[in-house]
Symmetry: C2
Subunit: 342 residues, 2 copies
DNA sequence: TTGAAAGCGCTAACAA
DNA sequence: TTGTTAGCGCTTTCAA
């Protein structure tokens, strides 16, 4: 009966070390052990030493579920991202995660597909964890999910877009401005008959619309548009160019909704023997590492996804800690990166 | 004083609805409301109706921290992945996450960089959340982290590799077999002077070693090896081929440690005017969507990352729910996908 | 600086 | 089928 002298454990416990065990070993009250661990300068050197030793000897790892329940601070942040664009978001997720981690927070991942029921279920699941903040990719349109979120009172950062009516905080950039600026850029290079190759995505559509409008204003011919739906692949970029060659052979510049599509167009141009950018200029979007590395190098629109992640983390943590943020909306901007392809 | 008749709230609460509120509204005890929500068939139709209505009216979302604390089941699974290979792992993470989500679990993400202190800090942070399971990319070598994990008693799945001594469960494949099989494949195609282009990664090294050994056994010349360190980019594949052309111009086949590197070699071969696969055969690894879409299409080694994620989710949930798994180790295998480039 | 008491919101165990 | 009681492991509050 070696347990004889140990504190009597309830039959429900998991057997893991608790603060109580550490406190007993150190000969102090649980709350004192808690202070030694969380706010060491509220405690005498002697107590600190004893508690630290007890922690080491027991291998104690504080239970954050219990801590979170008691303090109403979970130190958990949830990120909601559409699984279709994970590739593009990786930089953002990584910087979000590492900024949070360095400050003692953890990241929970929620991936949305396309059903709105699943989206609601996801948000319920997230809210059930009582995260200290929620990071959303894109904007959340009015609807049940938005209502649910606002009712929860949890700090929210929407991202990768701008709107005058965010749920809470917003870190993004203007897709309209991008469409316009790319239009001016390509027009400035002397291209006249332009095309859009894009996925079926609300933000890509907005870039496309602005691109179209701006070219119209510049007196250039109407833009030809290819919608690749959800096929966001190189192959689908290649197919798009094949299609363009048949339906609009005079196209001399293509603005793609992602670097991957642009890469496909670029490759197919190579296969067809089209000179890039002389016969066909190609512009991507996202400025993923791919863009700079291919030959000819791909011109693209650079978005600082890492900065979005970092700022979002800072904003959410500020709110979680009761601090206020200077401006609830940040426009991180973008830049057109001129390389060989356009 | 409109609060007069409401249940007296402690000053510490966050104000969110609790099970108690729902129960009072439905006119039942909290535990009955809990049953109506979690195990509806343990409850009468009448009670079920009343509780459901109360949930709707209050907008109640159960607090899973409290539930987890009370039941010692967090319904949280943690995934630990090196940030360098996130691209390759996305399929795995996605299928892990969606399989878990459909069963009511959430995924926590932990990214490791290269410092072992940070790795320990990460594991402590994870264990602190008391997840029901932990998914590890790769194997965890003996050391503090491994000890910590084993001591925690949390179910673990290691992955993307095989070993006779896993921590707990293991879902992977043999890098040695891959190296050997690719060697035989390329030798079978008549290539003689082969090269390896690889990142500085333990598993890539093991594939390379097996590749080298097998070719030696087949009586072919020694393999030339280019180590690109941590530069896992297209550009670095291009640089590697440039280097190979100078140091070993007679190389007629290259086995790369990732599709991205292989794509770089492929592009540089195009720039140099080398005929692929006649003058230079190229084999990638991972069979990412890129591989099939480029021209010429890239031969590669296919790993079913989605299956790894799905199986890992099932294994971890089984353990979390006290069920046993049939075999603690699964070899999901691989396949050499022959396309144009080799 | 330290501690006792009282929860945080939920569920396991037992009883009716 | 429903309820009572007693925690889960921690932190807040208040007192010493």
């Amino acid at each position: 009966m070696p347990e004889k002298d140990l504190p009597k454990k309830s039959r429900r416990s998991t057997g893991a070390m608790t603060l109580r065990d550490v406190a007993m070993l150190a000969g102090v009250a649980p709350i004192t052990a808690s202070r030694a661990i969380n706010t060491p300068d509220q405690v005498s050197a002697e107590v600190l030493r004893k508690v630290q030793e007890a922690v080491l000897r027991t291998g104690y790892v504080p239970n954050r579920m219990a801590g979170g329940l008691a303090s109403s601070r979970s130190r958990l942040i949830a990120a909601v991202t559409p699984s279709t664009v994970m590739t593009v978001l990786m930089g953002t997720i990584e910087s979000l995660n590492s900024t949070l981690f360095d400050a003692g927070y953890q990241l929970m991942l929620g991936q949305t597909s396309y059903s709105s029921e699943r989206e609601e279920a996801l948000l319920e699941a997230i809210i059930g964890r009582r995260p200290d903040g929620i990071f959303l990719t894109g904007l959340l349109p009015p609807g049940k999910s938005r209502t649910l979120l606002m009712a929860s009172g949890i700090p929210v950062v929407e991202s990768w877009d701008l709107t005058p009516t965010p749920i809470d905080m917003l870190i993004g950039f203007s897709h309209t401005h991008i469409g316009r600026e790319v239009a001016r850029y390509l027009a400035g290079k002397g291209h006249r008959q332009m095309a859009i190759v894009r996925a079926n995505d609300e933000r890509a559509k907005r870039r496309a619309a602005a691109f179209r409008d701006e070219l119209l204003q510049l007196g250039l011919p109407p833009v030809v548009e290819v919608d690749v739906q959800d096929r966001r692949s190189i192959q689908s970029g290649r197919d798009a160019l094949t299609q363009l060659q048949q339906t609009a052979p005079d196209v001399d510049a293509v603005f793609c909704s992602s670097d991957l599509l642009a890469l496909g167009v670029l490759m197919q141009a190579g296969v067809l023997g089209l000179k890039v950018p002389q016969q066909l200029a190609i512009m991507g979007f996202g400025d993923t590492p791919l863009a700079s590395d291919v030959a000819p190098a791909l011109s693209s629109v650079r978005i600082n996804g890492e900065e979005i992640g970092r700022l979002a983390a800072q904003y959410l943590m500020a709110r979680a800690e009761g601090r206020d943020v200077a401006s609830p909306t940040i426009d991180v901007g973008f830049s057109v990166v001129a390389r060989d392809s356009a």
